[in-house]
Symmetry: C2
């Protein structure tokens, strides 16, 4: 591509409304422009990146046995009423009326349309499994669009849906798409994790989010420093490694702790480490009150509490409720000699290993010391109830947990019969009985993935595209287009490299060298080939964008060098 024939409107200034690197750089490098809040035009370079990601997605989806189709953007309201989402989706669903006053949604996702399509066309288990995908512009009316393509209102998504007559078949396709997703994000060069996203009561295998590690991510991930384990911190199970040291149990003693309420205060006042203190909490689990114990240096994970009791709602008791039920204020709660013995007590597994610990004495201004759980408050159910922490062992037994922020770029989900039941997507099974199809759904944010790549690959000069993703592999720069030798050699190389199968961008603009080089760094093609003053001697310069290395070579070596670097 000749730069004179395309449009790459680079900017020297950082656009004032762009908060994050990827947003700033994609604007500055002329990859896109905003047309309205959260709505962008992909300029030629931006579209090429999108298309490169799409190509990778298509290849891996096909390899996983998925077949492409294309469903419409306009989805009649009736389908969404059937599934129940017309009312539940809220203002993020963009809606409109046609000229006959019929209501439509602009598709944010296509569960309804594809379920409706397949219920009409598939009547028997014999036609299943089927895995269908599309790459399409989607719409979601985000309240606060931000970070450029990361949270837009019109965006490109790959969405896939699988249909099955058995859970085993769903599991198999889920695993195949899980692998496809891993391949896709690896080929995009991304540092990502497949994160257990909502294990909950379902066992932790039914949904994964693919998260690109990034400081600007909105979710916190707990991951192993040596294995592939990763989970949203809410979802990470904790393997209890606390043990008893064999310390002799001392006699329980009540000590005065005037105005000392928090673990920090008590721990400091009594000169006892937080991990030898006991945190006692009162929670409301649906309609029942429960005392919950965790170690002083741990945090209760309320999702685990909720899952333990299979509850609809869990929330902390109010100070008033606490006073009424346990007869004491928050800061002095403790499991020893409580006002009532009728209340259920659950504790995180680490609590059981405490020796000569400290807890509230159920009396304002006093704590117990030398508390030993099995001796002093034996009627307790021990469970995994705390948040995982950095430094904890990874639940898969390999490595140590670290935390990171993540950008969600993909999601695989076992839908089950959520849509086939509400929308009557029935098939005949092997025994001739009607049953709902079992479904999976699988999404990738294509434009968001591009942002995530830009977020991970840049430096102070601009973008640094991985070879697989770069709009062009080679940026060819005849420095002075008025110099006949430079111009001619530039043109010759442009032809030669194009013929050899490389995607080449030639900067044939009559711009100054400084402008050309700054633009080149900003837009970030993997290899820059500069045709400068030594053109007449047949010497050119290669520069690797990633590491900034540059070296002069004879023209004749160019192809060979490119082959080594790009392939």
């Amino acid at each position: 591509m000749r730069q004179s024939m395309t449009i790459i409107p680079t900017l020297r200034e950082v656009p004032s409304d762009a908060e994050v690197k990827s947003h700033q750089l994609l604007l500055r490098a002329g990859f896109m422009r905003q047309t309205a809040s959260g709505i962008y035009s992909y300029l030629p370079l931006g579209l090429k990146v999108i298309q490169n990601v799409e190509k990778i997605i298509r290849e891996e989806m096909e390899r996983a046995g998925a077949v492409e189709l294309l469903m419409p953007t306009l989805q009649q309201a009736e389908l969404w009423v059937e599934s129940g989402r017309w009312n539940s989706y809220g203002p993020e669903l963009m809606r409109m009326h046609d000229r006959h006053n019929r209501e439509f949604a602009l598709g944010p996702t296509h569960e309804e349309v594809i379920t409706s399509l397949l219920r009409d066309e598939v009547k028997s288990y014999k036609k299943l499994p089927l895995t269908l995908y599309q790459i399409q512009t989607k719409f979601r009316d985000e309240k606060r669009p931000r970070f450029g393509l990361l949270r837009g209102r019109e965006f490109i998504m790959k969405d896939a849906y699988s249909f099955h007559s058995s859970q085993e078949s769903l599991d198999e396709v889920y695993d195949r798409l899980f692998t496809a997703y891993s391949n896709i994000f690896s080929r995009c060069g991304l540092n990502f994790r497949a994160v257990i996203a909502d294990s909950g009561a379902m066992g932790g295998k039914d949904t994964h989010e693919f998260m690109v590690l990034s400081e600007i991510g909105e979710d916190t991930i707990a991951y192993s420093d040596t294995s592939s384990f990763a989970a949203n911190i809410e979802m990470a199970p904790v393997v209890n490694t606390a043990v008893k040291t064999g310390e002799a149990a001392k006699e329980l003693e009540k000590v005065e702790t005037p105005d000392q309420k928090t673990i920090e205060e008590v721990s400091s006042f009594l000169d006892v480490p937080a991990e030898k203190c006991l945190k006692t909490l009162l929670w409301k689990v649906d309609d029942e009150f429960v005392v919950v114990l965790v170690r002083g240096d741990h945090e209760l994970n309320d999702i685990k509490l909720k899952n333990l009791f299979n509850a609809a709602i869990v929330e902390p008791a109010t100070p008033e409720e606490t006073k009424e039920i346990l007869g004491v204020n928050f800061g002095s709660l403790g499991p020893v000699h409580m006002k009532t013995s009728e209340i259920k007590v659950v504790a995180d597994a680490a609590v059981q290993m405490l020796e000569n610990a400290v807890c509230g004495a159920n009396e304002d201004g006093f704590h117990y010391v030398n508390v030993n759980p099995d001796r002093d408050f034996p009627a307790v159910q021990y469970e995994d109830l705390r948040f995982i922490q950095e430094g904890d062992p990874s639940p898969d037994g390999q490595g140590t947990i670290k935390f990171a922020k993540g950008i969600e770029v993909g999601h695989v989900f076992k839908l089950g019969t959520r849509y086939s039941e509400s929308m009557n997507g029935m098939i005949l099974d092997e025994n001739g009985r009607q049953k709902p199809m079992i479904m999976g759904c699988y999404g990738i944010g294509v434009s968001r993935t591009v942002s995530a790549i830009a977020e991970q690959f840049n430096d102070e000069k601009g973008l640094i595209w991985p070879v697989n993703i770069a709009p062009y592999q080679v940026h060819l720069i005849p420095v002075n287009m008025k110099d006949e030798a430079q111009k001619q050699l530039g043109e010759e190389l442009y032809e030669e490299l194009t013929r050899a199968g490389y995607d080449v961008l030639i900067d044939d603009r009559p711009e100054r060298a400084g402008v050309k080089f700054a633009d080149s760094d900003l837009i970030g093609m993997p290899v820059r080939v500069t045709v400068g003053k030594k053109a007449q001697e047949g010497i050119i310069e290669m520069k690797i964008r990633e590491n900034g290395e540059s070296f002069e070579i004879p023209v004749g070596e160019l192809l060979e060098r490119l082959k080594t670097i790009i392939g």
Copy 2:
């Protein structure tokens, strides 16, 4: 692709609401399904055809120097207000409000967005010309969607826009895209014509429609049987070929023609051919009345009349107006001895060559015979004023005119400064002066093109895809999947052909032979390879869909044969 893994829901019945062949067959062959009126899902085979057309479009557009980008579907109302189209576009423009109650259009076309984009980024003639295109889903709320993809409400379009600082540059790019369009439709295998679409006062070179010849087309085209000349019949100039035979002029005579008013009646009553009669009409041209003469066998083309006078409105005079101005009823008008000599008289060029002709005598019930124009009504301006007819010589001097119906699949148009002026898309020219950019726009209906191909390529058994467009090139059919030899040879050939670079669809379904063959004819891949009972002997059958020819060959010859047929 394995047929067991994809979805090709063929139908034996013709869907009742599908009027035309392409619509019927694309539904019956399982290429698409309607989800709402004028809105379709492209099933896997349908999408592959779309993508094949898109690939051809991209290649030819790039070759013509156009660069791809992608603009948003959601277009804020403000832009359309600027261009003036928010009000003028009418109910075909789909509109909606976002959650903040801002108005948007769903793009039917992108002149506003791209003009807005380029006015911000291009400030000087030095950055021009630029030709940008996109392939995108568009929206138009047709009042009566019909014919499947031919007139849908959500459809795929390629739209391109060029920007120039001079008319010459526009002319050059226009010609280049004209060629690209010709290449595209040729590669799609279509029988089409590039039709002069709205010459009018602009000279006939500023807009062409690309029309696929088809009985179901909504426009009539006049085309040459030997050259590339083609025009909408309204736009076709007529080269006058009428000449005088040298017949001696006889004396003008008034004859009685009781109740004979139309040319047919008079011609029959007087036993004179229609081409020796004169049709006399009174038209209102803006505010002026004009007498218009055409030969009895010709029809007045009112657009030519309008252009001749550069008028805003032309319409036939009412009977009352005619009576008042010319003192006589319609059927008896004539240019000889008219009531008034103050009225302007214009005539089609052929009129001047009449000899001893017939015309109304401006007196009910009477006609003149032996009328000779230059003698009997000399004060006449002769022009090209009639519709072209089948059998007329082609205006380009080559061949004879024929008529055909056409489906518009493409359109190239010199927009000029229509948008840059209303939207302030200014650049500095060579002399440092502000001036509006000059624009061209160029559209191709992608989904409509697919329909047009289906409309041209089918027979009573189903679709017959051209090799370039077919979803798969080879349809491989192991007849009996329970026969181990057939199944194994089928699988071997599937691998071998795929490895050789062919797109192969293998019918690995456990269906009866009859079903497989009927489906195969219906979906219409160019070559069918049948692995049947002679599999064990290494004999297979090839069948060419286009002509129905089939022949047995040894397996070893398959690749060679395919190379000859497909390439």
